[in-house]
């Protein structure tokens, strides 16, 4: 546990001092969503219909933007060598890095999502579910993304490879995230979709740190 907290604190500190990553993610998210009304026209009916999908797809892409930096700097400056041979289980430290990644990228997305939903004229009934679905979905994105980020370490043009690896795995989160919000807007039951998103999160939290740790050990060899 002390290792987990130490890693979270260090990564948060690094993110706050460097600052660029989390700003970049939120800026990308906001700008892309703002572009949609220009692209597909300002008719409220259409925007309302696509709002949930636009928000989720954009969030997916935004959270991918910062992934390749998750382990890259540690890999380059030798910190990763030292992290992988810590007396604490590597999967716990990985979880710490993912938690810090989510706090600096996922959480700002979560905060920006309802504001952008207003901009897309989304029905107010969907706001609560949108936030809950984002709260369950974005940590899953960070967890899955970490596996991809660890696998492409040391590869040239890792960013392209990373999106090929990770985006297919993001699709279930996208499907159920959008479906939950749409159901809430149409006044249908949405509990099942949220439970499935919760299930994804639990499954990812159990499996992804372990897979990431294995990939990191491979990367430092």
């Amino acid at each position: 546990m002390s290792g987990f907290l130490a890693v979270v604190r260090r990564d948060l500190r690094l993110a706050l001092r460097q600052g660029s990553d989390s700003m970049m993610v939120v800026t990308f998210f906001v700008l892309t969503v703002v572009l949609f009304p220009f692209g597909i026209g300002p008719e409220p009916g259409i925007l309302e219909r696509v709002a949930a999908g636009v928000l989720w797809v954009t969030a997916l892409l935004a959270s991918m933007l910062s992934l390749d930096r998750l382990f890259q700097t540690d890999y380059e400056d030798g910190s990763l060598d030292l992290i992988t041979r810590s007396p604490q289980p590597l999967s716990v430290l990985v979880l710490g890095k993912v938690a810090a990644h989510w706090l600096t990228t996922g959480l700002p997305l979560l905060a920006a999502a309802p504001l952008l939903a207003v901009l897309l004229n989304m029905n107010a009934d969907g706001f609560g579910v949108l936030v809950v679905a984002f709260a369950l979905g974005t940590p899953t994105l960070s967890l899955i993304g970490a596996v991809g980020a660890a696998l492409v370490l040391g590869a040239r043009r890792g960013g392209v490879l990373l999106s090929l690896l990770v985006l297919p795995l993001y699709i279930p989160v996208l499907v159920f995230g959008v479906s939950a919000v749409d159901a809430a807007i149409m006044d249908l039951p949405f509990k099942a979709q949220l439970l499935i998103l919760g299930g994804f999160l639990l499954g990812a939290a159990a499996l992804c740190p372990w897979a990431t740790a294995a990939a990191l050990r491979q990367a430092v060899e």
């Binding site: 130490a6 890693v7 260090r10 400056d77 030798g78 910190s79 060598d81 041979r85 007396p87 060899e221």
Partner: protein, 240 residues
Amino acid sequence: MTDQAFDAAEFAGENLVCIRGERIVFADLSFSLGPGEALLLLGPNGSGKSSLLRMMAGLLRPSAGQLTWGGEPVADDPEAHGGRSRYIGHHDAIKPVLTVHENVAFWSRLWAGDGSRETVEKALDAFSIGHLLEVPGRWLSAGQKRRVNLSRLLAAPAPLWLLDEPTTALDRATVATVEHLLAEHRARGGMVVLSTHTDVSLPGAKVLQMDDFAVDPALSGLDAEMAVAEDEPWTEGVRP
């Protein structure tokens, strides 16, 4: 930084083989190291000093053979091995935006669960860089970075030190400090494995000449094919 003796066991390697790419770097390498002993790795560039150290650190899996600690295979419990050994490689692993204190305290907390200010200050003072405590990593010179890197050995004590050319970029006075600390560490029952191209005084150290374990390309199956390929005449008129 503690002054008590380590309860170290024997650290040994049996018949280690290292293959990088398609080349056998060394084969059939064995060593053993008891409490208070030191092992000096010598040999030309590419003879596998760094590979052997990474192997000892558990970062690189041996292609054959095994490492043991007190008779137990190291690979069975990598976390325990991480707790009892410290590895200093070519990279200094210093974050440019964190202060020296934050850099060292993080590793001290991660490795030894300590990370207190006194521990970090004491460790930095040992390398006469106590005054750099609040300086961000990006303002350090190469030699200062190396000293910060080495101070982690003291901020998170462990019996086995694996040092890959630790004196690179250090001035002569600091090399003397390192030698003094190595002697102190061994006096407390610690063990040192060190690779170097320069003179580092390690009285009574066992010496491992890495070229003794190099495999003759003619005898190694992998290399033999490559050697044959290189002997073939160049038919296209391309300069070899």
